[in-house]
C-alpha cells in the first residue's frame, strides 16, 4: 500500500461525528469481496453492517456480534464507513491504518466495498436467518442478589435454536448486549433471559436500578452456532458458569420437549460460587423428572464446601465442590463417548472447560461448541 492510499484509508474510517448517520437517506449498496467471491447486499443509513449482511442471508463471519472478539474484521476498500463504538476491544484485531473495521461496529455513510478475509458460505440450513425485531420487557424477577431474569414479549414470533442468542439494545444504554435465550419456545412470542449484575455493566445496571417492565427493546437475532440438534444423536454435556447456564437450560428443555432423553443421556454442570448463587433449580428439577433419569444436573460450588450430595431443597440436583470443569471431568470420567460439549461462562472457566474437553474427554473440535464473547 502506498502512503497516499493509506491516508485515504484513514479518512474512510471516522468515528461517529456530528452529521450523524441520517446524512444518507436511501439504501446503500455494500459489496463484499470474500475468499469465495463477490457478493452484495443493501444497507440502510445507520444500520449495522454485520446485521444488515446477516439479515440479507450472507454467511458473514462473526462470533460475539458486539465488538469484542474481532471475528468480523473487514477492510473498507472504497466508500465511507464509521465506527459506532470507537473503543470496542475487538478493534485490537484490526489494522485501522489500513482502513479495517469490525463489521458489527460499522455503519456505512455511502455505498461501500469491503473485504472480508474468509469464505462466505450460503446461509446455513441449520439456522433461522437473523432479523431485526422488537418487544416489551414483560417481567423482571430477581433470582439471587446479583442475577436477574427478564422476559420479553416479542411483537412477532421468532424461530431459533436452543443455544442461540440475540443482541438486545435500548436507547437508555449505549450499545447492544448479547444474551442467550433461556427458554426454548421457537416460533413463540416470548424470550427469557438471565443477566448477572456487573460493576459498571451498563445494561445490567439499567435492569437492576430501574423499573424496566413495559420498556421497549430492540433485538437482533437469532445468532450463534453453539446449538443443540437432536438429529446429531450425541449426548449433550453442558458446562456453564453463572449466567452462562442460560443456553444450557434451553438445550435441556429442547431435549426434554422432544423426548431425546428416552434414548440419550444428558449432563449439565452448573458452576457457581456458593449454594446461594444458584438459580433455575426448579426448572432443572422439572427437566430431570421428565427425563426419566437420563438427565443429570450437578451444581459445582467453587467457594463453599458441598455439605451433602444433593441440593437441600431440590433433591434431584446433585452438589459437588470445586471448579465446574474439574467437577465435570471427575463425574464424567469414562463416560464421554458420543458426547457433544457445550461451554459458556466467564473466560477462565471457558478456558478450563475447553482444555478438559480436549485433553481429557478427547472430544474432536467439531463436537465442542461455545460462542466466543471474549
Amino acid at each position: 500500500m502506498t502512503s497516499s492510499s493509506r491516508a485515504d484509508a484513514l479518512a474512510r474510517i471516522r468515528p461517529t461525528d456530528r452529521e450523524g448517520p441520517e446524512a444518507h437517506a436511501s439504501p446503500m449498496k455494500i459489496t463484499v469481496e470474500s475468499k469465495s467471491g463477490i457478493l452484495d447486499y443493501q444497507c440502510e443509513a445507520g444500520e449495522n453492517l454485520l446485521y444488515a449482511g446477516l439479515a440479507a442471508g450472507l454467511g458473514l463471519p462473526y462470533e460475539c456480534a458486539t465488538g469484542t472478539c474481532g471475528t468480523c474484521r473487514a477492510r473498507v476498500m472504497s466508500g465511507e464507513a464509521e465506527l459506532a463504538w470507537d473503543k470496542a476491544p475487538g478493534l485490537a484485531y484490526v489494522k485501522r491504518d489500513k482502513g479495517e473495521v469490525l463489521l458489527c461496529q460499522a455503519h456505512a455513510r455511502s455505498d461501500c466495498t469491503v473485504r472480508v478475509p474468509a469464505k462466505i458460505g450460503p446461509p446455513s440450513r441449520h439456522f433461522a436467518t437473523p432479523a431485526k425485531s422488537a418487544g416489551v420487557v414483560s417481567k423482571v424477577a430477581r433470582l439471587t442478589h446479583d442475577v436477574i431474569h427478564f422476559e420479553v414479549a416479542l411483537d412477532a414470533p421468532m424461530a431459533y435454536d436452543a443455544g442461540q442468542f440475540v443482541v438486545v439494545s435500548t436507547p437508555a444504554v449505549t450499545g447492544g448486549r448479547a444474551y442467550s435465550m433461556v427458554n426454548y419456545a421457537p416460533g413463540g412470542r416470548q424470550l427469557d433471559f438471565v443477566v448477572k449484575r456487573k460493576p459498571s455493566g451498563g445494561f445490567s445496571e439499567w435492569l437492576f436500578s430501574n423499573a424496566v417492565e413495559g420498556t421497549r427493546l430492540d433485538l437482533f437475532g437469532p445468532l450463534g452456532r453453539a446449538t443443540f440438534h437432536p438429529d446429531e444423536g450425541r449426548n449433550p454435556v453442558c458446562i456453564a458458569g453463572g449466567s452462562g447456564i442460560a443456553g444450557m437450560l434451553a438445550i435441556a428443555s429442547r431435549a426434554c420437549q422432544e423426548g431425546y432423553f428416552s434414548s440419550h443421556r444428558g449432563h449439565v454442570f452448573f458452576g457457581v460460587r456458593t449454594l446461594a448463587d444458584c438459580f433455575y433449580m426448579e426448572e432443572f428439577s422439572r427437566l430431570v423428572s421428565q427425563s426419566g433419569g437420563n438427565l443429570e444436573v450437578t451444581v459445582a460450588l467453587s467457594h463453599e464446601e458441598a455439605t451433602s450430595e444433593v441440593h437441600r431443597d431440590f433433591r434431584q440436583i446433585r452438589l459437588a465442590s470445586g471448579f465446574v470443569h474439574e467437577v465435570a471431568a471427575k463425574s464424567m470420567a469414562g463416560r464421554f463417548e458420543n458426547a457433544v460439549g457445550f461451554v459458556a461462562g466467564p473466560p477462565p472457566m471457558v478456558d478450563g472447560a475447553l482444555r478438559m474437553l480436549i485433553m481429557e474427554a478427547r472430544l474432536p473440535a467439531q463436537f465442542i461448541r461455545y460462542d466466543k464473547f471474549g
Binding site: 462470533e63 478475509p117 473440535a365 467439531q366
Partner: protein, 123 residues
C-alpha cells in the same frame, strides 16, 4: 541455513508444545504428538494466538482453544471448520535430538504480506 538442532526429544514430553529460539532469532515450536514431532511457527495461522499457550495436543490433534481450529499432526489434515493449513518446518529426530530445516522463517500471511492486500487476496 540448513538442519538445525532445536532441542532434545526429552525436552518436549508427549502431548506438549514448547517454544524455542534458534539461530537468527527465529522462534519456533516443537510439538510432541506422541507418534512424532512437528516444528511449527509460533502462532496459530488464524488470528496469531501464541500456540504454546492456546494450543493443546491430544490424540495426535493440535487444537487452538481460541476458536477451536484443529489439525491432525500426522497428516497435517485440517479438521472441522478450520480454514487454513499449518505450515511446518521439515523436521526429524536423530540421536535423541529434534532437528528442523530452517531455510528462512516461515511467516503466516497476516504477518508480512497482509492477507487483505491486493495481490494475494483471492488466492
Amino acid at each position: 541455513m540448513s538442519w538445525i538442532r532445536v532441542c532434545s526429544t526429552a525436552d518436549v514430553p508427549a502431548n506438549s508444545i514448547k517454544r524455542f529460539e534458534v539461530a537468527g532469532g527465529i522462534q519456533l515450536l516443537i510439538v510432541n504428538y506422541g507418534d512424532g514431532f512437528r516444528a511449527l511457527p509460533p502462532v496459530c495461522p488464524h488470528m496469531e494466538e501464541p500456540l504454546e499457550v492456546s494450543g493443546l495436543v491430544a490424540g495426535c490433534m493440535l487444537t487452538c482453544t481460541k476458536h477451536l481450529w484443529s489439525w491432525d499432526l500426522r497428516t497435517l489434515a485440517i479438521q472441522g471448520e478450520t480454514e487454513k493449513p499449518l505450515r511446518p518446518y521439515d523436521s526429524k529426530v536423530e540421536n535423541g535430538d529434534v532437528l528442523a530445516f530452517v531455510d528462512k522463517e516461515i511467516v503466516y500471511e497476516f504477518d508480512s504480506e497482509d492477507d487483505m492486500d491486493d495481490d494475494d487476496f483471492f488466492k
